[in-house]
Amino acid sequence: MSDRRRVNGPAGTTLPPVFDDAVFEKLDTRNGRSRPPNATRKLFLKTGVTPSASGSAYLEIESSAKPGVSGLKLSCSVHGPRSLPRSAPFSPHIVLSTHVKYAPFATKQRRGYLRDPSERDLGIHLEAALRGAIIADRWPKSGVDIIISIIEGDQDRETSKLQGDEVWDMMNALSGCITVAAAALADAGIDCVDTVAGGVAALVQDAGDGSTPSIVVDPIPSEHEQILAACCVAYLPTRDEVTNLWFRGDLPASDLELYTSIVEHGIQASKNANRVLIDCLSGTVG
């Protein structure tokens, strides 16, 4: 149902007219990927940003060199452990509830104030990823709320609305959500078996339909001609376990090598994010 209680702005962005001028001719150029295929973007992570929460963290992924492309900015707060509502049934474990919400201005397509199905989907994926990392039976009869606000959604504002598929952006957002939630959970002092971090890998086709696709980590959809498949992995490095795997795309079912190769690249990206996470956490105690 649409949100009728607030005054909502227009759903899409309005762009000023661009006239066919010599100066603007090179505006719409796809400059391609500026990093090596196995390099992730730089990551900034900081814990303890929200004083009123039990634990909190902020994550920023740098935007690409192209102007006008925003990076990913996430803010996560953890509330709890706190008592369950009276209506909830007895639970011998901690009850995890995750909320992921795009800010209304985070993406090209303006978001509503209520959570839409894609945001709920992100929340469910995040919960699955964290459930494998939390030692749930340390906190019986209590609940913890993990709330993530996506402040900037990692989207190219210059490309038109029709270009690119939103779901590839959601994968990047999910991997950021997993990493920032793990940092906030550690900040809140909730028992975890390991620090979980997210990573994305994709199979991209850069030069026309006939060219051979290649695997890259941490893809930005606007830098590639076409993304054939992508996967987002939540990975525990010391346990060597994957807690959540989200795979999407069109691949020949016979080519198992390709599947495992993409997942392995995702794990590689997650290990990179984990290094930042561990650095950030040891900075707070050391």
Binding site: G48, P51, S54, G80, P81, R82, S83, L84, R86, A88, P89, F90, S91, P92, I135, R138, W139, P140, K141, S142, A186, D187, G189, D191, C192, V193, D194, T195, L236, P237, T238, R239, I278, L281, S282, T284, V285, G286
Partner: protein
Amino acid sequence: MTTTATPTFAIPGQLLGPASRYQPGPGTHLHEFNLYASLLGQVQITQPARAPGPAKRLTKITPAPAPAELPTISVMPTQLASAALKKREVLPQVGNVVLCRVIRITPRQAVVAILVCGDTVLEAEWQGLIRVQDVRATEKDRVKIYESFRPGDIVRAEVISLGDQVNYYLSTTRNELGVISAVSEAGNTMVPISWKELMDPKTGLMELRKVAQPQ
């Protein structure tokens, strides 16, 4: 003795040492015979309490207390200057002695709010229940809740069960458990007279309570 240095602080998932060297304490977990940290914080190693002198005389055969001899390793969340305000949340556990305030009473039970667990003041408010059969150890069938607790009393009680979805079940059957602070109907703080009576020092009136033994 130690071959590898134990880290001073730990990150969730960090290896702390083999289970043959330490006992797991709070903030750690056991995985495949190794101890790992599960919290972010400082590593503490507590040596086991030494037995005071040699045992006098062995009158019975006891199993070798080998695992108890190991030092306990635990991870304590750091209390940084910025985090001084926020304390680590603790949960009431079975066997803990808690302080609580009576919210309402019914003929079958007293509903209380748990305020302090052990030595730590709780952030969240947890609800507890003292059933009529858990008020005292003797003459359980003659216990009347209104002769034991009144709303507003501060009670020291022991957690006996995690209870149902809402309440922890508490008990005041021991001598040192019961009402530790109460005000009379006239509004004055009362002093204990006996194990079941409190007196208002201003008016001299008695009121019935399950009184905790003063410590």
